[in-house]
Every structure is written in structure tokens, then in C-alpha cells.
């Protein structure tokens, strides 16, 4: 019977503490996913290489605040009498005092454990690594001491929440109000969280980068936990009502048609050229006319595979290195990018635009890899956890609260010093006066139809079953969006970025009523998700391009070659030492068959998600096989070496960036010896 009572109390306690427990779970997940670990590694690198303690200080303070938030909320949720869910028998002192204390101390301790135990930190100097891990352990211990001995340090607390006759913490009876200090603390915590959220809205890029991704997550979780525990759980349960969390979720679902704030900015004015090509064939004719007479060098089509910042940086590094081969950039006709591959491709194209369009030489311009060294994940996380999260509960769409701006403006600011600020222009303006720039074909997925959406300055009629933009018959907001937004439409990484809404633009100036209606309920025509849902390789679009330009290239006796830049670890493993060689992309079975593990969880739902995910991978191999057949073996697969452990996500540590740059020549040496022999950065070990 005692055991049953204990079990019942355990369940009741878990329900009461659902917000703190969920917070602990999310915090653990955030730190253990590869992007979380790499964010910690980046913070540690800033300490060891730049002597910058700011990131770790913010993380320390944020994890301490998270610990305090967890301890405080659990304490009140367990200690107070909640008539909606009474304990069957009084809880022991251990449960009432030590469980909240341990939970609170766990928040900073976990950071230290991850830093000390994870293999990702093996390249960080031991003093910094274990010193930092130790500092977080000490912080955790200090928190524990504070929880335990706070009455000893602060005499006024001795009478604040009282103790029973045995000296154990008192239970807050129903007729007792929360102490004024506690009310003030909760009020101020929520107020400061709101102020921090306001600061992120005002400076969506700069302040998140100062605070850092891990600290943002900790601060957000601390705020959400306090609000959820006290306002959504404690208050209603104290008044014999159920917790309000599920009702808030229901509210968010019900109002969701009126909370779509992901329409994106619209440029005021877009310049177009009347003689700009409209089709791939036209574009190829104009482009090939710009090649020197007698030039028979191969024409390249590049397919840049998706994979977050890992793919973006790898694509940029490869294209940058290939650029050392004379004439390479002039012989790239098109780049088909997906997700991170699109980001890398757009950054590279932007970085060479000025040089290819008659810009002044000699001035130092940032390279694509320099620009991708920027922290793109912190602004996105600040939006995800703070202001865009708040928008889910406000039934009026506020475009300023769209977290897309973090990634888009992040890219724009990274490319700000490039002449003409190319990422802030529309894609048609990007090509004004630069006819020989490679055609950017950025692949996205239309949510409503499941079709591929090829975002470029060209029409989509020549792409097989691609979304027909002209068929909508309306002027869409997409036509007045910047290249950074196009890139982001292709790279809408799940969770970090929302689906982008493409709205119909009104033909004229709307009257007040129409303006108000459109403001509240924007005319969304379609939504764009990450291009990787359709084809994560970008090869399908490259094949369509070959279909169109193949005959013309054959007439001029040019070979068309397909370069596939991939960061897929499977491909790298299959290629092995054959990377960059024609033998590399020999189609193989996607993966050795393996029976499901003995414990296969949630077999009603997980298999569906798993199958959908793996079908996408499987299709990569089918399109690769098609490409080999169609390109007549002129396929060059350039995989990210397996030795480079790069995370998915939107920020890379310096160590990973260096690993990628140092490994690039090795991958290129089989087919592009000139590029491979270009000077390696000084920090690279001898090959």
C-alpha cells in the first residue's frame, strides 16, 4: 500500500512539475544534439583562442538562472497545497527539499559534464576544457549550497516561508497567500524575460550573437518554465482548476490561421532588364556567347546538396578552391542548390560577382567561407524561443516577430561589404550587368502541392513537374524579395526556420478596410519549405538543365560535366579514396540492410516518419544513378571527408571550419590538381 501511495504521489508530483520536468528534458536535448555540442565547442574556442570569456560567462549566468528557475518552481509546485491535485500522503522531506535542489543544480552541471565527457571537445586544450567543465561543476555546487544554506546566509528568509515543528519546510496551506517577496520575484522574472525578448526584437542579430545560442536556450527555458509553472499550473491548480497549459496550446491551434507572420519583407522597387533571359535555353545561348572564341573547355553544372551549415560551408569551400583553377568560374553555367547548399552557392556567387562584372580589383573582399563563419544560429534561436514563440499566442500577425529575419539579415550583413550588397537585391537585380554569372537555381518545396519550386530569375516551364509560377496569375511577394530571402526559402531547416508564406500583392493601393483585412489575414497563396524534402541533392534540377542545354553544348563540341558537392556521410563513406573520381558515384544500395533493433519504439508512428526520411535518402541514389547515365560518366562527386565531424545546424566552430578548409584540396586533387595545389592555410597539418 505504501508503495502504491508512493507511486500515486510520484505521478501527481510529475503532473504538478510538468513544466520543470519538460524544461529539464529540453535542456538536456539542446546540449546533447550535435549542433548544441558544437555551439559549446565554439564558446570554448573563443576562450582558448581569443581569450574571450563573454560567451561562457553568459552561459554560466543563464544556466544558473535556469537552475534557480527550476528549483524555485518545483519547490512551490511540490510544497503548496494544490486542491486540484492533492498528494495522498505528506511527502517526505527528501522529495520536498532535495528533488528541487538537485534539479536546479543539474542545469549548470550538465554543461560541465557535456564539455568534460563529449568526444567533440578532444581538440580543445585540456586546461580550457577541464577548467571550464570544473567551473560549471563549481557553479552547480554553489547553487546547491545556496539552496541548502540560504537561510543561513540571508537571515530574513528564516521567517519568510516558515518551517514546521520538525524544522522541515512548511507547506503553504490553502488559506495562506504567497509571500510578497515570492510574488515580486515571479513578477520581476517574467518582466525581465519580456524585456530580454524586447531586446531581441529590437536587435534581432546583434544581441543574440552577444548572448550566444546555448545561453539563449537556457534563458528562454528559464522564462518559459517560470511562466508555465506559476501562471499556467500553480495559479489554476491552487483554485481547484486543471493546469492551463493544454488550453493555451489549444488557443494557439485555434488562432493559428491568424498568426502567420512568415510572409517576409517585400522590396519597394525591383529593377529588371528587358533583355534578361526568360528560359534556360535563352540563358545558355547568352552565356555561351560570352565565352572566348575557340574555347572548348567543359561546361560545369554544379549540384550543391543540402545539410545545414555543414553543406553551406563545404559548398563554399569547394567552389572557392575550384576557383583557383583558371577560368573555372567562367565555365560554371548553373548551380542547383538545396538547403545549406543553396546558402553556400549564393554566398560564393555573391563573393565573385564583383570580380566577374568588372569591379575594381585589388580591394580585399570577404570570401564566401569568411561570410559563413558568422553565427547564424543564435539569431534564429532567439526568434524561435522568444519573439516568434510569443507570436503563436497573439492572433494578429506581426511581421517584425518573424524569426526568418535572423537568418536572412545574418546573411545580408555577412555580405554587406561586398560591392552592391548583392544579397539585399532581388535576383533579377543580382544579374543586372552580369550576364556571365552562374545561374542560381535554388530549390525549395511547395507545401501545398509537394512540388519542387525552382527559385531563379528564369521561368520554371523547362523543369519537370516544377511548380508553375506563371499559373498563379497573380503578382506574388516572391517577385519582390531579396536574394537572401530566396536562399532562405530553399534552406528552411526544420524547426529552426518556419515555412515561408508567399502572399499575393495587391494590384493597387488598398483602401483602409482592405488594408486592415490583409493585415490581419494576409492573402497567402502558397508556402515554401526546405528544398530537401523533395530532392536533397539538387541533381534533379541539374538534370533538367542538361536536358535543355545538352544539344546546344553538343553542337559546340563542349562537354557538360556535373559536379555534385555533397556533405552526406554515406556518400563519403562509399567514395572513400575515390572522392572526386568517376568511380565514386557508382550507384550502390543506399545502406546495408539491417533488421530493426529489438526495441523499436512507437511502432505506430515512428516507422512512417523513418520511412519518409529514408525514402528521401534513397532517392538521392536514384537521381545519382540517373545523372551518371545522362551525363555519360561526367559526374564528379565531391563529398565532405568522413573525418570531418561537422554538425547540422547554422553555426560551425572554428575547429570544424579549419578541418573543412584543410581537407578540401585532398578531395579535389583527382580531378582538379590546380585547385588542389593552391596554398593551404597555415594552420593545416602537413598532408
Amino acid at each position: 500500500m505504501r508503495l502504491l501511495h508512493g507511486l500515486a504521489n510520484f505521478i501527481r508530483g510529475s503532473v504538478r512539475c510538468m513544466f520543470p520536468l519538460a524544461t529539464l528534458g529540453v535542456w538536456t536535448g539542446v546540449l546533447l544534439v550535435p549542433q548544441g555540442t558544437d555551439v559549446l565547442r565554439a564558446a570554448l574556442e573563443r576562450l582558448s583562442r581569443l581569450h574571450s570569456v563573454g560567451d561562457l560567462l553568459y552561459l554560466g549566468v543563464a544556466s544558473m538562472l535556469l537552475g534557480l528557475s527550476l528549483w524555485y518552481s518545483m519547490r512551490w509546485l511540490i510544497d503548496a497545497e494544490l486542491p486540484a491535485l492533492r498528494f495522498t500522503q505528506p511527502l517526505s522531506t527528501f522529495w520536498r527539499t532535495w528533488v528541487p535542489r538537485i534539479a536546479g543544480a543539474f542545469a549548470p552541471l550538465l554543461v560541465g559534464v557535456v564539455i568534460a565527457a563529449s568526444g567533440s571537445f578532444s581538440q580543445v586544450e585540456g586546461l580550457y576544457r577541464y577548467g571550464t567543465a570544473g567551473a560549471f561543476a563549481v557553479l552547480s555546487a554553489l547553487l546547491l549550497v545556496f539552496f541548502w544554506r540560504r537561510r543561513h546566509f540571508v537571515p530574513s528568509l528564516r521567517d519568510a516561508d516558515g518551517r514546521d515543528q520538525d524544522g522541515n519546510p512548511g507547506v503553504l496551506a490553502l488559506d495562506q497567500r504567497l509571500p510578497p517577496g515570492t510574488t515580486g520575484l515571479i513578477f520581476w522574472s517574467i518582466l525581465l524575460s519580456a524585456m530580454l525578448g524586447g531586446l531581441f526584437v529590437q536587435f534581432p542579430l546583434t544581441v543574440p550573437r552577444v548572448v550566444g545560442a546555448a545561453a539563449i536556450a537556457a534563458l528562454a527555458l528559464a522564462s518559459i518554465n517560470l511562466f508555465g509553472s506559476f501562471v499556467l499550473t500553480w495559479l489554476p491548480m491552487r483554485r481547484s482548476m486543471p493546469p492551463l497549459g493544454p488550453w493555451l496550446v489549444l488557443w494557439a491551434i485555434l488562432i493559428s490561421p491568424f498568426t502567420d507572420n512568415h510572409g517576409g519583407r517585400v522590396l519597394a522597387d525591383v529593377k529588371t532588364s528587358p533583355d534578361a533571359p526568360q528560359t534556360i535555353a535563352e540563358a545558355y545561348d547568352k552565356w555561351s556567347a560570352g565565352l572566348p572564341q575557340g574555347d572548348t573547355a567543359p561546361v560545369y553544372i554544379v549540384a550543391a546538396e543540402g545539410g545545414g551549415i555543414r553543406a553551406a560551408y563545404w559548398t563554399a569551400a569547394v567552389l572557392q578552391a575550384l576557383d583557383h583553377t583558371e577560368g573555372f568560374r567562367n565555365h560554371v553555367f548553373a548551380i542547383s542548390g538545396v538547403s545549406g547548399g543553396s546558402v553556400g552557392a549564393a554566398m560564393w556567387a555573391a563573393s565573385v560577382r564583383d570580380a566577374m562584372c568588372g569591379g575594381a580589383s585589388g580591394t580585399r573582399r570577404p570570401q564566401a567561407t569568411d561570410m559563413l563563419a558568422a553565427d547564424l544560429v543564435s539569431p534564429a534561436l532567439a526568434g524561435l524561443f522568444f519573439y516568434d514563440f510569443a507570436q503563436r499566442f497573439i492572433p494578429i500577425p506581426v511581421d517584425r516577430l518573424d524569426r526568418s529575419q535572423g537568418l536572412e539579415e545574418g546573411m545580408e550583413r555577412a555580405a554587406y561589404r561586398l560591392p552592391g550588397r548583392p544579397l539585399e537585391r532581388s535576383i533579377s537585380e543580382f544579374y543586372l550587368g552580369c550576364a556571365h554569372l552562374p545561374e542560381l537555381l535554388l530549390n525549395s518545396t511547395v507545401v501545398e502541392t509537394g512540388q519542387r519550386a525552382v527559385l531563379s530569375r528564369l521561368g520554371s516551364s523547362e523543369f519537370a513537374n516544377a511548380f508553375p509560377w506563371a499559373a498563379t496569375g497573380e503578382t506574388l511577394s516572391l517577385s519582390r524579395q531579396a536574394l537572401s530571402q530566396f536562399t532562405h526559402h530553399s534552406a528552411r531547416f526544420p524547426v529552426i526556420s518556419p515555412a515561408g508564406s508567399i502572399r499575393a500583392l495587391p494590384p493597387g493601393e488598398p483602401d483602409l478596410w482592405d488594408w486592415l483585412v490583409q493585415r490581419w489575414w494576409p492573402p497567402v497563396r502558397l508556402r515554401l519549405a526546405d528544398g530537401g524534402y523533395f530532392d536533397n541533392s539538387g541533381v534533379q534540377t541539374a538534370l533538367d538543365v542538361l536536358e535543355v542545354i545538352g544539344p546546344a553544348a553538343e553542337r559546340s563540341k563542349r562537354t557538360v560535366k556535373l559536379i555534385v558537392i555533397t556533405s552526406d556521410p554515406q556518400v563519403a563513406a562509399q567514395c572513400g579514396t575515390a572522392a572526386g573520381d568517376a568511380t565514386c558515384p557508382t550507384p550502390q544500395k543506399p545502406d546495408p540492410w539491417h533488421a530493426p533493433s529489438v526495441l523499436h519504439w512507437l511502432h505506430e508512428t515512428v516507422p512512417i516518419v523513418e520511412a519518409l526520411y529514408l525514402v528521401r535518402d534513397s532517392r538521392l541514389h536514384i537521381t545519382a544513378a540517373q545523372a551518371i547515365r545522362r551525363f555519360d560518366q561526367h559526374v564528379i562527386m565531391l563529398p565532405l571527408p568522413t573525418g570531418v565531424k561537422a554538425p547540422l545546424g547554422w553555426a560551425l566552430s572554428e575547429q570544424v571550419r579549419e578541418d573543412i578548409l584543410c581537407n578540401t584540396p585532398g578531395v579535389l586533387k583527382a580531378r582538379f590538381p590546380t585547385a588542389a595545389s593552391s596554398p593551404r592555410p597555415s594552420y593545416c597539418p602537413n598532408p
Binding site: L57, E409, Y416
Partner: protein
């Protein structure tokens, strides 16, 4: 006690002006010490204090970048700007964030709280002291913008070294600076108004001086926040003036609070001149 050798007491205006001058001098000394702590500590690590002012003065990305790169090359044995040689700047801003900001925030909070207590307001029985809470809110906002500004300056310097600094980033830095001064000015104004509370026993001129200094400083800070930019000699003078005024206000208020709360029994305060 009769002290004939001291002669006649000085005229009334000397009695009025002398403490004012004394406190002005003390305030100036506090300001100088504060600036010396800020700049002088890092000067011995080869970071010239003039460089920090140049960084503040550069309102454009190009100007800021030029200063950062110039400064980076001034550090001996630094091969290239890419090698991140801005750690003295980091140290300076770290001291600002970890020492000076908590110090001024704590002082203002303490003065505000003490003045409210002296005025007999803010007792638990009266419920929330909303004016004091508002002052705390303004102060918290000012501190948040100050912290954000410090971090932004370091990030901007790093971007500058990599030729990636964007003008919007510089605009962000300057916006944070202005809002910091505005909120701190508003918080100081509220403290000045607290000190003018009629329920505080009228003792000594110190409290009055401090209160008026705070009330004068506040609009100056707000003007500095909203309009002024660093970079001209006039701005430099105003900035120094602001430091001095803050110093006077803080010292005078501190002295008054100390006098009224701890050093003098409440009965004596009640019967003072």
C-alpha cells in the same frame, strides 16, 4: 565651546558655496577615478586609452573597421589583423560589464531604496511601491542596454577584423548606447525626485544638492542618449561633464543617505536643522 581665535563666521554665500565646491571637487575626483579604472587598468596591457575613445567615436562601419585594424597592427608581434588582437578591448569591456555596471546599478538601487525608506514609503503594509518599481525597471533597462552595448562593440570589432562589419551593426551599437543613457538618465531623474520627497526630514544641504544634481544630470543623460554622438570636442566635454555630474549626484546622495540612515539616530534627524 567658545572659540574666539576662529574669528567671525564667514558670510552666508560662502557657507552656501563652499560645500558645493567641495562636493564638486569630490565628484570630479570620483569621476576621474572611475575613468582611470576603466582606461588605466588596460593601458598597461598596451591598449592606449585614446584608442578606446576612437572606437567610440567611429560612427561608421568603415571608420570603426579602420580603427580596429590600425589598433590591431599597433600591438607588437601581431602578424595580421586576422589574428584577433583585440583582447585588451575585451578586457576593458569585461571590467565594465562585471565591475562598473553592477557597481553603479547597485548604488542607484541602494540610494533609491534608502530614500524611499527615509520618506516612509515602500513599507510592506502599503503594498507595492510602484514609483520605486518603475525606477528599478528603468535601471534594469539601462543596465541591459549597457551590457548589450559592450558585447556588440566586441562583436563589431571582430567583424571589423574580418572585413565583415556592416553599417546596420554600427547603428545597433549606437542605438544601444543612446538607449542606455536615456534609461539611466530617467532612473537618475526618479532618484532625484525621490530625494525631493517632502516626507524626508530636511537635514543639511547635501540631500538637496544631490537631488538637484540628479535632476539636472538626468536630462543631460537623456540628451546624450537621444541626440549626442561622441566624436567632437564638445561631445567630449559634455561626456566628461556627465561623468562629473554623475559623480556629484552619487556622492551627495550617498553622503545624505548615510547621514540620514546609519550615522545619525532617527530622533536626531527629526530634530535637525
Amino acid at each position: 565651546m567658545n572659540q574666539p581665535h576662529l574669528g567671525r563666521s564667514p558670510p552666508w554665500w560662502v557657507r552656501r558655496v563652499r560645500p558645493l565646491i567641495a562636493w564638486l571637487l569630490l565628484g570630479f575626483a570620483v569621476a576621474v577615478v572611475a575613468i582611470a579604472v576603466l582606461d588605466g587598468l588596460t593601458a598597461r596591457w598596451t591598449f592606449a586609452s585614446s584608442e578606446s575613445r576612437k572606437l567610440d567615436a567611429s560612427s561608421t562601419a568603415e571608420g570603426y573597421e579602420a580603427v580596429v585594424i590600425e589598433y590591431a597592427r599597433e600591438i607588437p608581434d601581431m602578424p595580421a589583423p586576422e589574428n584577433y588582437s583585440i583582447w585588451p578591448l575585451r578586457t576593458q569591456l569585461l571590467i565594465d560589464s562585471l565591475v562598473l555596471e553592477p557597481a553603479y546599478a547597485g548604488l542607484l538601487l541602494l540610494y533609491g531604496l534608502a530614500l524611499r525608506r527615509l520618506a516612509g514609503r515602500g513599507a510592506a503594509s502599503e503594498g507595492w511601491d510602484w514609483p520605486f518599481q518603475l525606477m528599478c525597471l528603468l535601471l534594469a533597462a539601462g543596465v541591459m542596454y549597457d551590457l548589450a552595448e559592450n558585447g556588440m562593440i566586441v562583436r563589431a570589432a571582430e567583424d571589423g577584423l574580418w572585413h565583415l562589419l556592416a553599417q546596420p551593426t554600427m547603428v545597433d551599437v549606437h542605438d544601444a548606447t543612446r538607449l542606455k543613457w536615456t534609461f539611466l538618465g530617467a532612473a537618475t531623474l526618479m532618484i532625484g525626485l525621490f530625494a525631493r520627497d517632502r516626507r524626508i526630514p530636511p537635514v543639511r544641504p547635501w540631500l538637496g544638492i544631490g537631488a538637484w544634481a540628479a535632476i539636472i544630470v538626468a536630462p543631460l543623460a537623456a540628451i546624450q542618449g537621444v541626440r549626442l554622438r561622441f566624436g567632437t570636442p564638445l561631445d567630449g566635454v559634455l561626456t566628461m561633464g556627465l561623468f562629473v555630474a554623475f559623480g556629484v549626484a552619487l556622492v551627495a546622495l550617498g553622503r545624505a543617505v548615510w547621514q540620514l540612515s546609519d550615522a545619525i539616530p532617527r530622533e536626531a534627524v527629526a530634530n535637525a536643522d
